[in-house]
Amino acid sequence: MSALHIKKGSTRHSAYNLRPTFSDVQERHTLAVLVENEPGVLARVIGLFSGRGYNIESLTVAEVDHTGHLSRITIVTKGTPQVIEQIKAQLGRIIPVHDVHDLTVEGPAVERELAIFKVAGEGEKRVEALRLADIFRANVVDSTLNSFIFEITGAPDKIDAFADLMRPLGLVEVARTGVAALLRGD
């Protein structure tokens, strides 16, 4: 079972013995779960989180291999090291789950998220919003005489920071995709 990164037949856990498992410290982990793209598979994953009381901070899912019918679910979750280990082991038990990767442990990983922001305002505020968008490399994807829609990609922190700046400038609505993540290197 790959969930614990246990080699076939092995019982040793790569990261497990390095950390005190029953610590109270809350850790944020990004998990990449490769699943068979069959009906109900997302419900199984989400049901596991709600049924066992785990957190979901962000979740994205899409088919990444159309011929093999494999989807990649990226989940950002928070919990004590013991809970994180349980989450991975429990995900590994789901029959259509092929692989579970803890990118936070196996990392470094690149995390990206896309968000679109609607900002409405006039005069100086509108100019300031446009100027900040430029600094953040956000693109204007729609404009009316008194509003913009900006598109921005980046790490979740950057998107949070951009949202903080837009709020006093007339932020109306935000839509975020959630995190997509990949390990660095090969």
Partner: protein, 583 residues
């Protein structure tokens, strides 16, 4: 090999190809094509239950007493929802069950059709896996995969939902190889870790084996290997409720069951050991007592086929993921090749200490000449039935714990009880499933009157198929375990915990064409039990027992293994606020 046939015929063909001889079920609109296919063949016997919950428990009894998967066939909607309790029961006790449900035709799914329910949605959290099959061409592949998933790795219940149009339509039948499935849980344990465990075993001064249902699930070979290992090393062994029979109760190193109502010597050995070897158990809360004081000074090894069981509640030092049988085989091999060493000197004093604990005689009870004590009833049942080819099922509550304490099991697959879910109403239908698998055996369901009433309609099934199941009901006219907790925790305010308006069990049995026996005098008990055993047919035995008897020993909630209550005198203030919130 591919053949064209209807979906309904595929169901029958799959069951035949999987070696299934018995199906427990109940017909309805959405499974009529499959029932029509059943009508036209003689290879598979269908047992008509009286409620779908009974079908699943019967299949569990069949599975647990044979080691083969149990099969259930029910209709859509209420048929499927009635199966949910049985599915959850099988999930928590890791019992391989295949439930086939009818579904409204594919073109009506989602329209709130008659007897439509979102069966895969409802059963997703209470199955190991489930499938809705929308294409007849995919049906045989899914059905065979369902058997593979239910029986591989950690066993469990699966469900296949089959819409009625898929049953009628024709498609191609194929038998996929189990190796074609991507689900291939590893069975071999890591040799390095097993060697580490053997090294710890060689040095251990106070080792103990703590075994569970995983040994039974692994198959008879695992029990044999366990016996060989225990007897060769001389290490004492205790077991969970689920694992009784893997090591014989008459064995020299047997400590008895451990846990909340386990034996004093078993729990004290767990608390005092320096090496705990968990074989196929899962540190359930009925076993551990309060976690902060659980076996404080031991190195813990854990053999389990399910990686998620490891470090779930108790941090272990030597984790071994693998099938119990395979790991025990390697463990024995390595131990022998290293010279069959144990810390013999220390084991002698450890055994001496355990024998001191045994002297407490924690199962002793004050006998009564006038009223049958439940403990007395079970010790007589044990004495009078042990020479038979015997299988025991139970319901849930005090009688279940007394049965685990007072009945002795020499072999695996002889003891069927709802461990994880604690399902009242489990035992009667389970006894029917066991009797179907073992027509000539003596099958006794040890019951309480309240639990038994929860699935008493199955008396019709027992009568119809002339199944000589013995329903041994310890009738205290109380929900005994609830009442015991109310006494200990809620100032003896017995809220709703008595059985009012009970039926006359003898007349009830007779109404179904079964035999009824009532016994209230300890002096008559032996004769009455013999009458029950010797009757060739279903028997309902109404054994009137002490009404307010508590089940001891007991680890009260929030306490540790070394804080057991041994009798009434210990109960005053035994459970504090922190423990009172626990179940």
């Amino acid at each position: 090999m591919t053949r064209e046939m209807t979906g309904a015929d595929m169901v029958i063909q799959t069951l035949k190809d999987q070696g299934v001889d018995t199906v427990f079920g109940y017909p309805g609109g959405a499974v009529l094509p499959i029932y029509d296919a059943i009508f036209q063949q003689n290879d598979i016997q269908h047992i008509l239950v009286r409620h779908e919950q009974g079908a699943v428990h019967a299949a569990e009894g069949y599975a647990r007493s044979t080691g083969k998967p149990g099969v259930v066939l029910v209709t859509s909607g209420p048929g499927a929802t009635n199966a949910v309790t049985g599915l959850t029961d099988a999930l928590l006790d890791s019992i391989p069950i295949i439930v086939l449900t009818g579904q409204v035709p594919t073109f009506m799914i989602g329209s709130d059709a008659f007897q439509e329910a979102d069966t895969v949605g409802i059963t997703r959290p209470c199955t190991k896996h489930n499938w809705l099959v929308k294409d007849t061409d995919e049906l045989s592949g899914v059905l065979h995969e369902a058997f593979h998933v239910a029986t591989s790795g950690r066993p469990g219940p699966v469900l296949v939902d089959i819409p009625k149009d898929v049953q009628f339509a024709t498609g191609s039948y194929t038998i996929p190889k189990p190796s074609a499935s991507h689900y291939q849980p590893p069975v071999k344990g890591d040799l390095e870790s097993i060697t580490e465990l053997v090294a710890a075993l060689e040095k251990a001064e106070r080792p103990v084996f703590y075994t569970g249902g995983g040994v039974i699930n692994s198959g008879p070979a695992a029990s044999q290997l366990l016996r060989e290992l225990v007897d060769a090393t001389g290490i004492p062994i205790t077991s969970t409720l689920m694992g009784l029979g893997a090591y014989p109760a008459s064995g020299k190193h047997w400590l008895g069951m451990l846990g909340m109502h386990g034996l004093y010597e078993a729990n004290m050995a767990m608390h005092g050991c320096d090496l705990m070897i968990n074989v196929g158990a899962r540190f359930d809360d009925r076993i551990t007592g309060v976690l902060s004081s659980f076996s404080p000074n031991s190195t813990k090894a854990h053999i389990d086929i399910d990686p998620s069981s490891i470090n779930k509640v108790i941090r272990v030092d030597i984790p071994i993921v693998g099938d119990v049988g395979h790991v025990l085989e390697d463990m024995l091999k390595i131990w022998k090749s290293r010279g069959r060493k144990t810390n013999a000197e220390a084991l002698v004093s450890w055994t001496r200490q355990i024998n001191e604990w045994r002297k407490v005689d924690c199962l002793k009870f004050a006998d009564d000449k006038k009223v049958i004590k439940p403990q007395y009833a079970l010790s007589r049942l044990e004495a009078l039935t042990k020479k038979y080819d015997r299988y025991i099922t139970t319901e849930v509550g005090q009688h279940q714990m007394w049965a685990a304490q007072f009945l002795n099991f020499e072999d695996p697959n002889r003891w069927m009880t709802s461990g994880g879910l604690g399902t009242m109403g489990y035992g009667f239908p389970a006894s029917i499933g066991v009797q179907m698998a073992h027509p000539d055996a003596l099958v006794v369901n040890v019951a309480g009157e309240a639990s038994w009433l929860m699935n008493m309609q199955e008396l019709g099934t027992a009568a119809q198929y002339k199944l000589p199941v013995k329903q041994f009901i310890l009738n205290n006219e109380r929900l005994g375990m609830v009442r015991q907790w109310q006494e200990l925790l809620h100032g003896s305010r017995y809220s709703q915990s008595w059985s009012e308006a009970l039926p006359d069990f003898v007349k009830l049995a007779e109404a179904f064409g079964a035999k009824g026996i009532i016994c209230s005098d300890p002096a008559d008990l032996d004769d009455a039990i013999m009458e029950m055993i010797e009757h060739d047919g279903p028997v309902v035995f109404d054994c009137l027992v002490t009404k307010h008897e508590n089940c001891f020993p007991m680890i009260p909630s929030g306490k540790a293994h070394n804080e057991m209550l041994l009798g009434e005198a210990d109960t005053e203030g035994a459970i504090q606020a922190g423990g009172a919130v626990l179940v």
